[in-house]
Amino acid sequence: MTDLQLWLSAVEMGCFFGMLALAYHLIYVGAGFFNFAIGPYAMMGGLCTSWLVITYDLGVWTAATISVIVTLILAIVTELGVVRPVQKRSGSGELPALVAVAAVLFAIQQLAGYVFGYPTLPGQSLATFGPVTIGDVTIQPSSVLMIVIAVVTFVVTAFWIRFTRTGRLLRAVGDSNHAAALLGLPVNRIRLIAFLVAGFIAALAGILFAPKAGVHSLSGLAWSLSGFLAMVVGGTGSVWAPLLGGMLLGLVEVFLPYYFGGQAHVYGMLVIALIFFAFKPQGLFVRTVRA
């Protein structure tokens, strides 16, 4: 495990999974709901950016901005057009909303395929500097951006949750929708903010990760599953928990194939999912409440 190139890959993958998990975490904390459309949000961020640059020759920052706006619109539509109405009609039942958002996942993928086509598009790097070689390790600019921006995202999110009024309201609403509503807290507004912030983080993650191996319309499903598993592993006890979960999955993704062969990470992910769902579904970090 001394190969630094592998550690770099693991950290990069971990940061990507961590950002997806953070997006899941925010919606779970703010709306008490697992939004499986996080993967397609990330896909839309990366794919729309690439398509705009390639098809219309837009600058990468302009294309990225448009893509983030498109993703935010999708997040708003998910909450206002799907989750909220379904939850209202189904009362306390969570299953109908989960099924509805799973349908949103597939709908976004199909829409992306129709609009952008099905072939893989090259990701567009936001960086303008070239790769850096340190000893035997080659560091791509996209890797630097992924890691740095992921850390900044977690720091900013942790600050926002802990020290801002909206962040504290997010936690309050997530603890109990009903109690928050009785207290007169703006539940619907907080839920929408959770969806928007999560959509932004997911889109950003997709834009940053796309240069690594390209992006296509069907990328969203795998990313949804990876992000969800990272959130489950990390737990919901801390805003940093998704990053820990993501890093663990990143290590599995890179080091298991290194030691056990090409597809070992698939089995490793399966084993981790089984262990955590069976024995520690609350994850590694659990929020404790003083009685």
Binding site: D3, Q5, L6, L8, S9, E12, M13, I54, V77, L80, G81, V82, R84, P85, K88, A107, Q110, L111, G113, Y114, V115, Y118, P119, T120, L121, P122, G130, P131, T138, Q140, F209, K212, A213, G214, H216, S219, A222, E253, V254, F255, L256, P257, Y258, G261, G262, Q263, V266
Partner: protein
């Protein structure tokens, strides 16, 4: 502003309808279908199984587009025996389980002859189906020799040199470059698994010191490349259907094994859209199995034609050339048979084609068929080793070795 429950529900329903309509409208075929041009009379139906969305899409869509252009060109010049060719297209997504239904659907739409533009594993499944439905078929970009070997090979044909010839060319290249230890990085598709078995099984000229596999949709191959590096090969051969996997493989190899000679199959060299996916300079020095030579006047004519149709920046590939020639061979066979309606006569007409000069390969390269010879290539001249330059584009023939025209 509060949104009423009824309005929200209507919004959601309307959006759902839009999305479903959009999903239903898109993604089935690779492009616009040809018109009848100046040809009149009852159309001659050609069925094409084109993988436009599966793992073979990266090369099948290139060939599919040129097949459509070739059909349109024939129709614009009066068709075949005065009748227009009409293309009906289905998609098996290179999935062998979907092939029987796909081919039967093409037959039900009136197809008289089939073009199989899909992954090799799917085409293998097609062989037995062809025997049942009795239609001859050409696999324009097929390269696996077993596709045209018995059993069930009576109705299937391929154009280009197969992996059996590739192994001779690679061995010549390895000997010229003093490569004795080979590492292989491969994807997990059924097509490449079959190809590896055929190709690597014939290459006893080198010792394969490591074979590493990655998923076609992998996001990271650094572990696999690190394991290859540990085996200390003299060269690495990447075997994949191309697309994002191949580019990720080359990016990773360029970063972690930059001084190691790299070879590839025909895939990435014939997928210009993939070149843009690669990191700057990552493809430099990569040697791939190509088959286009601008010494061939027919290649130059095809390049001019396709650049006129697709834009001057269009990169012509072997897939284009083989697709073009497949349609010309269909036209020739129908003319020799006097019509398309007797599958047995059509099949015999294909087998009677001798010395056809294709738009790929060296100038003297020809294609011939017979009852015993369902692989068209006459000799190794259909192949050439091409090297990528620092701009991630093919720069020309690899100076170290080229396959000889005889043999």
């Amino acid at each position: 502003m509060a949104i009423s429950r009824g309005t929200t529900a209507r919004l959601a329903a309307g959006l759902a309808v839009l999305v479903l309509a959009a999903a239903g409208c898109g993604g089935k075929n690779g492009g616009d279908e040809p018109t009848d041009g100046t040809a009149k009379g009852e159309p001659i139906i050609i069925g094409m199984d084109e993988d436009s969305t599966g793992p073979g899409a990266s090369y099948s869509t290139i060939a599919g587009k040129t097949i459509r252009l070739a059909v349109q060109d024939i129709n614009d010049k009066g068709g075949v025996l005065g009748r227009p060719l009409r293309l009906v297209v289905e998609n098996d997504e290179s999935d062998p389980t979907k092939v029987p239904a796909t081919l039967q659907k093409l037959q039900s739409q009136g197809a008289k002859i089939l073009l199989l533009q899909s992954g090799s594993a799917a085409i293998m499944q097609a062989k037995s189906v062809l025997s049942q439905i009795g239609l001859p078929a050409i696999a324009p970009t097929g390269v696996t020799a077993t596709l045209v070997d018995p059993p069930n090979n009576e109705l299937i044909y391929m154009l280009a040199n197969t992996t059996a010839d590739w192994s001779k060319v690679y061995c010549g290249a390895f000997e010229a470059a003093n490569v004795k230890r080979l590492g292989v990085l491969t994807d997990d598709t059924a097509t490449i698994a079959a190809l590896n078995k055929a190709l690597l099984g014939e290459m006893d000229c080198v010792e394969v010191v490591a074979t590493e596999k990655g998923a076609t949709n992998a996001s990271d191959l650094s572990a696999q490349v690190a394991r290859l590096k540990n085996a200390k090969p003299d060269a690495v051969l990447v075997t994949s259907v191309g697309g994002a996997f191949e580019v990720l493989a080359q990016n990773t190899l360029a970063a972690q094994m930059k001084d190691t000679l790299r070879f590839s199959l025909a895939s990435i060299g014939n997928q210009p859209d993939s070149w843009k996916l690669a990191n700057p300079g990552a493809l430099e020095g990569l040697v791939f199995m190509g088959s286009l030579s601008t010494d061939n006047p027919r290649t130059r004519e095809l390049i001019d034609f396709l650049k006129e149709k697709n834009g001057k920046d269009y990169e012509v590939t072997a897939y284009d050339a083989q697709a073009w020639d497949a349609v010309q061979l269909v036209k020739l066979a129908i003319e020799k048979a006097g019509g398309p309606d007797d599958p047995k006569k059509l099949n015999e007409a294909i087998q009677s084609i001798k010395g056809y000069q294709p738009t790929f390969g060296q100038p003297s390269f020809t294609i011939s068929f017979s009852a015993e010879k369902h692989l068209g290539a006459d000799g190794l001249c259909g192949l050439t080793l091409i090297e990528f330059g620092a701009d991630n584009r093919p720069k020309g023939p690899w100076p170290t070795y080229q396959p000889p025209c005889e043999g």
